[in-house]
Symmetry: C2
Subunit: 238 residues, 2 copies
């Protein structure tokens, strides 16, 4: 591969592209750092200039993924007549839609960060993603409080708490992802669906809404995502 | 120190006692594992039999501390005429009272687990403490739902979510503990008080109660605990 002089930011993006392609193809745990460096076609020194270790690369990939998803979601203009609840539900629905459309690309990153041995990495990625989401969610809640749709004395605190409650589903998601057979997956899906319903109602109440106002998942959405993942897992080379 | 043959469980308790005394006197970070082993008066092999590393010892101390606090709190008989909300508030108030009475003993453990470099340890200790609290809180919520005082379709899930929302205050508590001067502490105390108020209202709403029903902290409690800690810090030898 010819070495050409690139702008540092461009070179980092290109490194991420090539690392992501390899990781999505073979799985994060199945690819060594040396293989990633070889596939990126750069020197070790150049690679370590951007990423001190393999987990720093995964963190950067996840952060970039979340940023790109947010840009896609926010590029869709809002329907002007919607109130704050409608705008928040539309934002959440677009997030789900984007996840379905880009599930293949996200999956290998997503699964890796939920492994037990990646707990610290999970919290670092989660903090980075939540830092992107916090101001957007806080703005929506502030608008809703101003319009009398939401009821909280601390929109930014409420946004932070809501993201943190989301983080608290980590254990249940991790167990669902780790389920080895269809019986285990059935139990995991049921537990996850139940927790998402509970989380929806908690969000409604934290924002002073009627139960059933906010939708985090359409009926069957979790099952669809989890079953697609089990079907896809067979295709991943060992 | 004479070597006497002890029952293994007793020896572990005695090791914990001596390690705790040293850690509370000098601070977790200021005591090496070798000093702890020397103070415990056992061989390295005997020590490693119980605790593979220094953080395993801290985890065991924190878990024991939480278990002892729970035993003290639960040994106080309930006022029979209280409803589920009254019982939950009494449980929370006893927890605060116990924290004040045993603040000196808890502080060195508490501070160590909130340091940034101890994030994994924090999550391990937190998971152990929450595992102790979960069945107690779930029982209280179940009773309250049965009596029509609380409103949730999933008492155990609600208990888990409430404990997780508590975990989500980690960042704010950590920042408060790390504040170096009185101006920084003032900002940190204000942020923590505001978040505790938000958390109280979130808990009320998650359980279907009126805002202001549950009390996590009396007015001035957080300030008192934090200021006592700043005063106490000066006494700790470097």
């Amino acid at each position: 591969m010819p070495r050409i002089v690139m702008h540092p930011a461009l070179r980092r993006e290109e490194l991420l592209d090539r690392a992501q392609a390899l990781i999505l193809q073979r799985g994060y745990d199945n690819v060594s750092l040396n293989e990633i460096i070889a596939a990126a076609g750069v020197s070790k020194g150049a690679f370590y200039h951007y990423f001190p270790a393999k987990d720093a690369l995964l963190e950067a990939l996840a952060e970039r993924f979340a940023r790109q998803a947010l840009e896609r979601i926010r590029s869709i203009p809002d329907v002007p007549e919607r109130d704050a609840l409608g705008r928040l539900n539309a934002f959440l629905a677009r997030g789900r839609q984007d996840k379905v459309e880009n599930a293949g690309a996200a999956w290998a990153l997503f699964e890796a960060m939920f492994r037990a041995e990646n707990l610290v990495l999970f919290h670092r990625i989660n903090a980075a993603v939540n830092a992107l989401l916090l101001p957007i969610l806080a703005d929506m809640i502030r608008d809703g409080v101003r319009d009398g749709v939401f009821d909280t004395f601390d929109p930014e605190g409420a946004a932070d708490m809501i993201l943190q409650i989301g983080t608290s589903t980590r254990g249940i998601v991790a167990r669902a992802l780790a389920s080895a057979d269809s019986a285990g997956m059935e139990v995991a899906i049921t537990a996850l669906e139940r927790r998402v319903r509970l989380y929806e109602i908690a969000l409604d109440r934290v924002l002073g809404l009627e139960d059933g106002s906010l939708r985090l998942a359409e009926s069957g959405h979790i099952r669809m995502v989890m079953e697609a993942r089990h079907a896809g897992r067979g295709e991943t080379p060992a």
